[in-house]
């Protein structure tokens, strides 16, 4: 087939954990990009509808995130009082810094 499969979905996995203290932890692994960001978005949307105090995005297993992934996290950040991005790789951290979103995404130094 000529060209590249337009529907190839990048490999990504995630896991939602609802803490008792109103904290939702979203563990994401693999590569998160435009092809699979909606899948994660709709899953987390349900958890956000419960009105958690805090969302922790655990990105330790995340190898890559594109701008649509970052846009999704910014949406989450706007939806809850407190969002913290943990375990971001230096690459990801650098992209977020370059976009001026360090504070928005609760990226700790």
């Amino acid at each position: 087939m000529a060209g590249v499969d337009p529907d190839s979905v990048t490999e990504m996995s995630f896991e939602l954990a609802d803490g008792a203290d109103g904290t939702v932890t979203v563990r994401i692994g693999g590569e998160l990009d435009i092809t699979n960001v909606d899948e994660l978005g709709s899953a987390v949307q349900r958890a956000l509808a419960e009105g958690p105090e805090r969302v922790i995005v655990d990105a330790r297993e995340l190898r890559f995130a594109d701008s649509s992934a970052i846009a999704l996290w910014v949406q989450w950040a706007a939806a809850v009082p407190d969002l913290e991005l943990q375990g971001a790789s230096p690459f990801l951290r650098r992209v977020i810094e370059s976009m001026g979103l360090t504070d928005t995404l609760g990226l700790k130094p």
């Binding site: 087939m1 000529a2 060209g3 590249v4 499969d5 337009p6 529907d7 590569e31 435009i34 978005g41 190898r63 890559f64 594109d66 701008s67 649509s68 970052i70 846009a71 999704l72 910014v74 949406q75 706007a78 939806a79 230096p90 690459f91 650098r94 992209v95 810094e97 370059s98 976009m99 001026g100 979103l101 928005t104």
Partner: protein, 570 residues
């Protein structure tokens, strides 16, 4: 169906894409085509092959049946031959028990000169344990033989003086047991005479034995011949008049049989046997039938299977052709999508770059290799007045028509704000009211750079965008400003600009992340690559852009890439 799914999985933004109905129609068409193919391909070829298989199967079956049947018949005949020879040996053995008492009686009469008393005494004991019904002693001489003595019934032969004379003469001449039959008594009898030539030849011991009633008798159940039916004839041949005894009612035997002629004194017996069940076993008898039935069933099964396999293969071929058609259609649609996306993309970008004195401008837009959808990257150049030029590069997150629409509205809004002479930081603040990530899920990073060739000042403002590269005197550096949040994060975002002295001659390069971003490496690596590539020898602006696209972006190019450049000479 993967291909169909892929087709359905094309961009969700309906206007550019053939919808599900298109796919269904394609499938429907191909099904129709397959049905036509089926009607054409079905028939002779399938059934001819199945027929050949059936014929071969039947031939093989027939050969096996013939071999097993022949083997069975051969075995039966061989076994029957062995059995009839065994029986013949037994009958030959009976000669002694018939001949010995008569020979002894004749010898006794000879030795005692015809002592009738001694003969009777001797022969009475014999008659008691033998099959004889009548034993008599005869004296030969001139004229008719004369009967000296008789034990048991009257000899039947005595009623025919002519026969008795010639029979005794022949028996005396032969020097062995003379046998005569059949004597018409009720029941019929056989006669035996013995006159030893070694003796004086004057005495003949004669005996008669009676045939069983109706000449019918069975072997005893324990006999070695219990599995055979038989017929015993007097003489050589199966003349029914000479039948001695049989256990059958229907004679002569026409079924599979074996016969043997057994010399008995001067006469002979013919013994015929027929098995009443197969000698080599019932299984051996049934085997040809079993082979025939199994072979027939297997042949039919193989023929049906062949027809089915051929039909399956034809179906698979038809399916493959249908799939190929769908794939072909998919390729065509995919190419069409790409063409539409590129056309629209270029339509949304400025087709003529503004010119001001002393500034050369250039720009490139490269579609990512994944680009079936329109992207959200753009560049723009706006002449603010005769000596100031605004360079804009932006990137809306996501893809598709929604991203393109946001991109277009941002681009035109920038034109409007620039026209009312807003500085870049104010432009960006105003733009942040237009996009909201919470409602649209979109962010936009935008870089604004203003070059004032008269004042030789360069002003840079960034909403979450990568810094521009300033190249002068063969070296290059990124112009870092304070990076504000991308458009869409906050509705009232504040932006600040950095303003530096512009070198008298220089090139400013703004770009989207597609140029420097690669999976699995830091964005800094891409920025370094760009810096090195841009620092090489002085080349024309268009050549520089081409080289950057080629060398920095490289083959990775997943993402769309926009580059815009200004080159000025004071």
């Amino acid at each position: 169906m993967d291909v169909a799914k892929r087709l359905v999985g094309l961009p969700e933004d309906g206007t550019l894409v053939r919808d599900h109905a298109g796919v269904t129609m394609t499938e429907g068409e191909s099904r129709g085509l397959a049905a036509n193919d089926g009607a054409r391909a079905r028939g002779p070829r399938e059934y001819a092959a199945a027929g050949v298989v059936l014929a071969v199967g039947l031939l093989v079956t027939a050969a096996l049946v013939w071999i097993s049947a022949t083997t069975y018949v051969d075995n039966e005949n061989r076994l029957l031959g062995l059995r009839v020879r065994d029986a013949g040996a037994l009958i030959s053995g009976a000669l002694a028990s018939t001949q010995t008492p008569l020979a002894s009686g004749a010898a006794l009469a000879d030795a005692t000169h015809g002592d009738v008393g001694k003969f009777d005494t001797f022969i009475s004991r014999t008659v008691a344990r033998s099959q004889f019904v009548s034993v008599s002693l005869w004296q030969l001489g001139a004229g008719q033989p004369r009967r000296l003595s008789m034990v048991g019934a009257t000899p039947e032969l005595a009623s025919s003086p002519a026969r008795i004379s010639s029979f005794f003469a022949e028996a005396a001449r032969a020097g062995q047991l003379g046998v005569i039959g059949l004597l018409q008594a009720s029941p019929p009898r056989l006669g035996y005479a013995f006159s030893s030539p070694g003796l004086t030849g004057r005495y003949v011991a004669y005996a008669e034995s009676a045939l069983p009633a109706n000449r019918h008798s069975k072997f005893q159940g324990t006999s070695a011949f219990a599995d055979l039916d038989y017929a015993l004839y007097f003489g050589r041949g199966q003349n029914s008049a000479n039948l001695l005894v049989s256990d059958l009612k229907q004679l002569p035997i026409t079924a599979r049989h074996a016969a043997i002629s057994i010399p008995f004194g001067t006469g002979a017996f013919t013994f015929v046997v027929t098995p009443h069940r197969p000698l080599s076993g019932t299984f051996a008898q049934q085997l040809p039938w079993l082979i025939a039935i199994a072979g027939l069933l297997l042949s039919l099964g193989a023929a049906v299977l062949t027809a089915r396999l051929i039909r399956r293969r034809n179906q698979a071929q038809r399916l493959a052709r249908s799939l190929e058609r769908i794939a072909e259609e998919n390729r065509r649609l995919y190419a069409e999508q790409r063409t539409i996306a590129r056309t629209l993309q270029h339509a949304l970008l400025p087709d003529v770059l503004p010119r001001i004195s002393g500034v050369e401008a250039g720009a490139r837009y490269e579609t990512g290799v994944k680009g079936v959808e329109i992207g959200g990257d753009w560049y723009d150049l706006i002449a603010l007045d005769e000596h100031r030029l605004l360079l804009v590069v932006g990137d809306v997150s996501g893809r598709g028509v929604r991203a393109a629409a946001t991109m277009a509205s941002l681009r035109f809004a920038i034109h409007a704000y620039a026209a009312q002479d807003d500085p870049p930081d104010a432009i960006l603040t105003k733009l942040s009211k237009l996009v909201n990530v919470n409602s649209s899920g979109q962010l936009a990073t935008i870089l604004c750079a203003v070059i004032d060739v008269e004042a030789q000042r360069l002003t840079v403002t960034s909403a979450g965008h990568l810094p521009p590269l300033l190249i002068s005197n063969g070296t290059s550096r990124f112009v870092q400003s304070e990076v504000g949040v991308p458009i869409g994060v906050q509705t009232k975002a504040r932006y600040s600009s950095v303003s530096i002295d512009a070198p008298p001659a220089g090139t400013l390069l703004a770009f989207t992340d597609g140029l420097v971003e690669r999976r699995g490496e830091s964005i800094d690596a891409g920025l370094d690559r760009l810096k090195r590539a841009a620092s090489t020898n002085h080349v024309g602006l268009e050549d520089l852009l081409s080289r950057l696209i080629e060398d920095v972006r490289g083959g990775a190019g997943d993402d769309d890439t926009a580059i815009a450049a200004l080159r000025w000479q004071a």
